[in-house]
Assembly symmetry: C2
């Protein structure tokens, strides 16, 4: 008898409704850059990250609690904010013991969707905290949904490749009947040793590098385990477990 938990990959927020989240761990994946930034901030000592869906809400909450309001829209620091969605901004000297109130285009929206669909547990993942995500999923022994944030509901490769990285590391412990997962794992297996040189072919790369010169952000977001922390959503905030 097969008692392994199941794993599915949702390639876009517009496909999340196809999966039962109620008894599952949902991994929010927004490699460029929300979930890389969340890992960076928590790894460098932020008390917590409060994800919110609008700039006014980020400003209001950060005022009330004395936190840092930050976020982006379409790849740039959002109007009215002083801090953006770059993981490199959140060094220890800047963020330690502070609360980050973060609004982003795709990742925070997907997290809200997972909440609305009564996910059992929500964590966030990206290459900088890959191993912590994998270790947690194996230890939990619950069903898993890898939720790619995409770009405005479109499929993207960076989130899919991260899903593939997770799948390659834990597939023996899960039952996986899911073409999205098989594709993600296949793409990752093909490109795992050349992610940074593959990246210039991705649409999001052009948005971030050609328009804003953010090549160092790209490199950070694609580097394994440089921010070994596990962000878990609880009581409205992501905290390091």
């Amino acid at each position: 008898m097969n008692n392994k938990p199941t794993l599915h990959t949702s390639l876009s927020p517009a496909l999340l409704h196809l999966y039962d989240l109620s008894n599952s761990v949902v991994v929010i994946i927004d490699v460029f850059r929300a979930t890389s930034t969340i890992a960076s901030a928590l790894y460098n000592g932020a008390r917590c990250v409060i994800p919110v869906d609008s700039v006014p809400k980020a400003i209001e909450i950060s005022k009330n609690i004395g936190g840092i309001a930050a976020g982006e829209r379409d790849g740039q620091i959002a109007e009215g904010l002083q801090h953006g969605n770059s993981p490199l901004e959140y060094t220890r000297s800047f963020i330690e013991n502070k609360t980050l109130v973060l609004t982003t285009t795709n990742g925070t929206r997907l997290l809200q969707m997972a909440l609305d669909k009564n996910a059992d547990t929500i964590i966030s993942g990206s290459f900088p905290n890959l191993s912590r995500v994998v270790d947690f999923l194996i230890a939990e022994k619950k069903n898993v949904i890898l939720g790619c944030a995409g770009w405005k509901d479109r499929f993207n490769l960076e989130d899919t490749l991260f899903a593939g990285a997770v799948i390659q590391r834990l597939k023996k412990q899960f039952t996986i009947h899911c073409d999205s997962s098989l594709m993600a794992e296949t793409m990752y297996a093909k490109h795992k040793n050349d992610l940074v040189s593959f990246a210039p072919k991705w649409t999001h790369y052009h948005r971030l590098v050609d328009r804003f010169g953010l090549i160092e952000d790209i490199r950070y977001c694609l580097t394994n385990d440089v921010a070994g922390v596990l962000p878990v959503y609880t009581n409205g905030m992501l905290v390091a477990k």
Copy 2:
């Protein structure tokens, strides 16, 4: 100046709304098995294929015009019908000069969605008519949406691999900034010489082969250019152009 038309791949009907169909050729892709069956029937001399969204409608229309009512639900011949969605059923001796009224789980629904979104031109494609699809798209010089029918809105590999086959053959004639298309082409490049041996890993294969023994259908649907016809949608029916 780049005057090449654009090409995008929609990985699921639930993602079709992200693309502008109004000045585009939309290719309906439902490899297992609607668009393989449509190619087979038209190649073998069917007058036309009328896609409909329900079994009662298939029965009513076929009675009125003296056609063949056919279709499947969940991989089996739909209740109340005598003919299913197997391309191998539609031999020349059976279908020549007849009209096929076809209802299927995914392909006919996606076609209706493309109509509702005012697609400029709708054609259908699968491996059996790959070259005809490619030749038509190159000749038209219009923007292209490769529309994967998936399975009940889930991503599937067979439709994605067909999209990749098309892209590999015409990418020099199009502007392609689309991660879905890049992924589809990469997956196809990796597996183009072993599609039939890769197929047992796909969810739809298990549905069709383990449950219904349809391995010959699978082989047909994955064979290039055995039904070299171009189905074009016009006035409520698909006809061979």
